[in-house]
């Protein structure tokens, strides 16, 4: 019902069951060649056709999995739903997308088909109906289904990225689509707003604001379009992080002169204190199974990342390299923790195995890379680079600027899948 779109999946067309065993894109295999794909012209309204293919190409390019073949090489003379697989083999296509556009008033129906050219197989056939003005989101849905068919998991085409935008009157929370489309404000507090953090269902956002003078945690209900002040104890109420089961929030409070990480419930009531010391304890991030928390502490004299096992209460230090490691974020699969660390004087993004066994430096040659956040499929990391938001694609290390906005943006936070 989102955006006034009627999502109706009409037909799941015939797919030979054995074709599921074919692995088209092995996301675990590094340095894989890109799959050559042809996106044929769609049958139907030519204006909508070019819009659909433009969005689809952008989506597929975003993943880094494909080599999109040039339209000039296509041998097909006019758009058709018939397929001569040989024609497509000749130009080197491994995959082929075909489709049909039908319009009725302000509604549009799109039939998409995905083919394995070499084996002459239909891998996917699906219809989508929605309003014309939501065409972009219909295409995103198909693209996600397509990636799921090819890799076993949808991509990020139905996700958003929240971030902090510095305005003349303060810092506000903004949100944009995963591809930088349609950035828009979520708050207009004319005050300092920081650290956006999504609920696991993606319909709520937590953030810190000084709206009432003190740094308190606010809850924005995106469905109800309502904001409430949720956590407001004396002192700090910062860096909220929602547990994967949605039932608790880890947050930094400073009670009784100590700074600690506390578990509070969804109404803001303290459930228990997890960690507290005379030093700094901040930026908690949950392991995806909810059994552990990584956070930043200065207990060893400089900011480093620690892991607290919530079952055993055992605390262990994760990072030993470098003198300033902050902003940990646990990967969706649980195997890595990304963070920002200063190396040779530069802030860079790193990822370290959650058992500390392996560190990879992800950015290099850029300055001031901070505030990493994982995409829900774990294939991308969004971060701030010199107060601009960038997306890092992990399969090839490519870094792309997300937004073309003036001024300073920071603290990006990737939503879960929003379908």
């Amino acid at each position: 019902m989102k955006r006034g779109v009627l999502w109706i999946t009409l037909i799941l067309l015939f797919i030979p069951t054995w074709s599921f065993s074919l692995v088209y894109i092995d996301i675990e295999a590094p340095g894989q060649e890109r799959l050559p794909i042809a996106i044929a012209r769609f049958v139907g309204d030519p204006a909508l056709d070019s819009k659909v293919r433009e969005v689809l190409k952008k989506d597929l390019n975003y993943t880094g999995f494909f080599e999109i073949l040039k339209e000039e090489t296509f041998l097909e003379e006019k758009p058709s739903l018939n397929i001569d697989f040989k024609q497509w083999q000749l130009i080197g296509a491994h995959l082929l997308v075909k489709g049909q556009i039908e319009t009725k008033g302000e509604f549009v129906k799109l039939n998409f088909f995905l083919y394995d050219v070499n084996n002459g197989l239909r891998l996917l056939g699906k219809s989508y109906v929605g309003r014309k003005k939501a065409l972009r989101y219909i295409v995103h849905n198909f693209a996600d289904d397509m990636i799921e068919r090819l890799t076993g998991e949808p991509s990020v085409f139905n996700t958003k990225i929240a971030f902090v935008y510095k305005t003349k009157r303060g810092k506000e929370i903004y949100v944009t689509d995963f591809d930088g489309y349609n950035p828009r404000p979520l708050t207009q507090f004319h005050n300092i707003c920081l650290s956006p953090s999504w609920s696991p269902t993606g319909d709520k956002l937590l953030f810190t604001s000084y709206k009432k003078g003190n740094p308190d945690v606010y809850l924005l209900d995106l469905k109800k379009q309502k904001v409430i002040r949720l956590i407001h104890y004396a002192g700090l109420n910062i860096a909220p992080s929602w547990s994967p089961d949605g039932r608790s929030i880890a947050v930094t409070l400073s009670l009784k002169g100590k700074q600690g990480i506390y578990l509070v419930d969804v109404h803001g009531q303290i459930k228990r204190r997890l960690i507290s010391s005379s030093g700094i304890n901040v930026s908690p991030t949950w392991s995806p199974d909810g059994s552990k928390l990584a956070f930043v502490s200065d207990r060893a004299g400089s900011p480093q990342i620690y892991i607290l096992d919530l079952k055993t209460n055992r605390l262990s230090r994760l990072t030993f390299e470098g003198k300033y490691n902050v902003s940990p974020v646990w990967s969706p699969k649980g195997d890595y923790i990304a963070y920002a660390g200063i190396k040779d004087g530069h802030f860079q993004i790193f990822m370290i195995r959650s058992d500390g066994s392996e560190i990879k430096q992800l950015t290099d040659g850029y300055t001031d890379c901070q505030d990493p956040s994982w995409s829900p499929d774990g294939r991308f990391i969004v971060f701030s680079q010199n107060r601009k938001i960038c997306v890092l694609r992990l399969i090839d290390g490519k870094i792309l600027p997300l937004l073309d906005l003036p001024g300073a943006q920071s603290q990006p936070s990737w939503s879960p899948r929003l379908k």
Partner: protein, 240 residues
Amino acid sequence: MKGKILMSLVLGLVLIFSFACAKKQVVVPSQPAIQEEKQQPTTKTTEEMKPVTTGKEEKGKVAGLEEEKIREEELARQQKLKKEQAFKQEIQTFENEDIHFDFDKYNIRPDAASILERKAAWLKTHPNVRILIEGHCDDWGSEEYNLALGERRANSAKEFLINLGVNPDQISIISYGEERPAVVPPAYCESVRHFMHSRGLRPDSVVPNLSSTKITPDMVDNCQKIWAKNRRCHFVVIQY
């Protein structure tokens, strides 16, 4: 708030000035009130303070007694005003003096300790005063970590004052992290910061050879001074 304090300060000063001048006959040519005074050198202070009634006051003893009473009241009022003025001056002195910290640290430095000793002494003699300690950071480091760091700085200052005997109820704290710098660094400090980053330097490091860059020693010096100013606790009197 600041505007109000400033206004009352200016008004108060003008009042005190004109009063003192009347008594001591100090000539300040630029002030019209004093010039009037010069024309009537024998006028009594009270009359000068109530110029509207001048001329109509000579109505015998009753008037004289009333005059005496008015004069006493006026004197008391002036004294009270003076006292208030002095107190406001003290508040201003108290608020004007920040304490500073080393990069990424929240321990109280010796220079900060002596400032805090003065503040503690004043707070102890004014038990009705309540203060807010704001913890601030420079813009090196992560925003979230700096919020936490600012809180620790404010807390260190608070603990220090409590150890010197200040009533904990007099002190509240808040952290602004890097959000409200005392001095907003000019744009070139970004370049200076990147240059220093690239040499593995911290904001308080001595910067070596600058040749082959567009950065001058003055620029570095200025930025470092600004960053140092921003690593601070600021003190605000919120109630007295």
